[in-house]
Symmetry: C2
Subunit: 464 residues, 2 copies
Amino acid sequence: MTKTTVAALKNTASQLDGQTITLSGWVRTVRDSKALGFIELNDGSCFSSIQIVFTEEKLENFKQIAKLSVGSAITVEGTLVLTPGARQPYEVQAECIAIEGDCPPDYPLQKKRHSFEFLRQMAPLRPRTNTFAAVFRVRSLCAYAIHKFFQERGFVYVHTPIITASDCEGAGEMFQVTTMDLNDIPKDGEGNVDYGQDFFGKQANLTVSGQLNVEPFALSMRSVYTFGPTFRAENSNTPRHAAEFWMIEPEIAFADLDDDMALAEDMVKYIINYVLEQAPDEIAFFNQFVDKGLLERLKNVAGSDFGRVSYTEAIELLQKSGRNFQYPVAWGCDLQTEHERYLSEEVFARPVFVTGYPKEIKAFYMRMNEDGKTVAAMDLLVPGIGELIGGSQREEREEVLVSRIEELGMRKEDYTWYINTRRYGGCKHAGYGLGFERMIMYLTGMSNIRDVLPYPRTVGTAEY
Amino acid sequence: MTKTTVAALKNTASQLDGQTITLSGWVRTVRDSKALGFIELNDGSCFSSIQIVFTEEKLENFKQIAKLSVGSAITVEGTLVLTPGARQPYEVQAECIAIEGDCPPDYPLQKKRHSFEFLRQMAPLRPRTNTFAAVFRVRSLCAYAIHKFFQERGFVYVHTPIITASDCEGAGEMFQVTTMDLNDIPKDGEGNVDYGQDFFGKQANLTVSGQLNVEPFALSMRSVYTFGPTFRAENSNTPRHAAEFWMIEPEIAFADLDDDMALAEDMVKYIINYVLEQAPDEIAFFNQFVDKGLLERLKNVAGSDFGRVSYTEAIELLQKSGRNFQYPVAWGCDLQTEHERYLSEEVFARPVFVTGYPKEIKAFYMRMNEDGKTVAAMDLLVPGIGELIGGSQREEREEVLVSRIEELGMRKEDYTWYINTRRYGGCKHAGYGLGFERMIMYLTGMSNIRDVLPYPRTVGTAEY
């Protein structure tokens, strides 16, 4: 007798014909007619379920099993039988079935198909459905693919801090972190909050990006990356915004914008290839039920050379497109999703990097180009979604960096340690950010960020 | 000419004798005598530095290079020369050296050895030192080893939420997360804070553990794990406490405490073997300069069968030890580090699992044993540190779980969704928690948690 899993059987079943095995899992469906019944059992080890055949002849508790509710946990001991020609290549003929945990009739996941909105009300049960088991397995594989990609290239994974006393982007809506009693906030002599009495002795927030913190590690250990949660207290109730999401931020020293784009291109292709290879059942499921063009689009991205176009050229392409965009196009404007999708889907029909954005619409740390008007920034636009990655070469010239900080009215003294990284053997370096959930949405075709996060946090929602 | 790295040369140097290569990195030391000089160059790609030989004959900027400050970033073009018999197997004879970024004389990292306390004042520069480059490379490799271990076994990586409205342990000092203006907190009719007006519409905190959130994923996807930041607002200024740290929490369905211990034992050995294999230079460095017994201890742990002893037996062993412990030993007491180290170092001389703790000193979700007094908990004690891992089989019986919650005076309605996981096809399951920084300290011999975190957050400290 072998205790095994449905995933393991994929490799071992052909050698186990006629042998006794044990499986534990959850009942997806039960059918019975008189003395014979069938259970579709999913044991969580992979996307597929397995068919269990049970008979009154073999089971003492036949009647109880035939009445089992969907969702019950059981352990099955039985004979594995190869069934060549049948829809499933093998099944289990049960010798005995033990109930590990039954499930009351009010179990919310009945056999019928439920809407994503309905399932969003029950985050702890969602992974029992085909769709969400597939989403969360792809999420896990994608996370691992990212680590594997960077580790194989000698990158060092850096845990930048979650709690921070500085704000990377110089603005942004941040969550404040405190241990003060909000019913009795300590005040200073002038009646303001006395942060000196808070846990960290100063005002503290949740990070919006690990970039400024990871740059010094690139300026020491050369090739590094972050992968951690980031936070935005944006009051946006859209399918693309969450208050808590995960981000990957590689940073490379002795590297320019071209190196940065080459790395991003390699990474995206690596992730797609890894997920296609490791989760073929899941991707086939998404392609059939969630997004018909998914598989073709992913294969196209993995197989194409990404395009490169300057922002200035991109604006010209958009202006002469003859399209009636909702947001008008002019040099200096930020690209909207409709523009990004037009460029990647219709002009290039593949992913495309747009480079050299006007400094006004990009962050202070991006390297100023010779023209004094644009910065060495890049956004990667992909068909079906628009912007997937944003990055830049960093301003390594201390005096230029400082003048940008001053120009933007930021407090220079808040950035002393960051500016010092340019003084102490600073060098050319670059990096980018990948929104992890954006990548998962791209890999699965799921269109709401709430459906790719295990427990989404959005305005008004922090359940469980 | 090949642009390469010191790490890559380890494999390729023997084929590159006499060839021109390019390296970029940071100056660790410069020595010169008249027309000849030597630079120790570290390029961040690995622990080792490489020797650059430069001469007045070759370099136009010889004098400038000879005066380079420690910490400067340079690019060297030169000839790789194998030097059989020398201390280093190869060196680079420079054809030209370009300064990427110089470094002023006030650079805090001079050639002399600095104390860890001193370096703690400058988190962004620490990774330029041997010790911290080694710590953070081991940290990265250890993180990857953990992912690799679980992914190879089919575990699903789950991102449990950072912001939460519930407190896993039923107590604990938590950080509050808010977007309210602390100078003008909205109040309700009774003068209390009106959390209805906060971002999430209720009071929210930073997570202290992902366990309760990950259990439903084990009860769907079988074998899962978390790896993310957790937070404790403990006012403890000790070498072992940080307010922000990372934790790994695997959770396995259809598994009991024995399965849990087997998993933990396999994981610890896997991590150690991976790090010994991937970071031999770093571990040798720690063994020489930080903790003389490190390597032997790690090899001993990786090679031994972990012991198993019940809490009740452990108490007896401690009582008859004849030792004069600072904390007295009696059945019912929590084990202190001195007790844990005595057991693992002197009684067992290897890692040992202690099982079956009194319910009073363990959490509500741990499975009650038959005796009604102890729970199916386990702690893994290791030589040199004490507790490394804590875990348990979870209470899967709804009525027992509810009565524990009520017994402890916790609000049952706060745990409705969690209790429901026992109603809807619940089953036997188990899991454990590994403090990531504890593991890094164990792997490196570093004795202060502040020295294994890139940017430590402790009482009064949230710099950078």
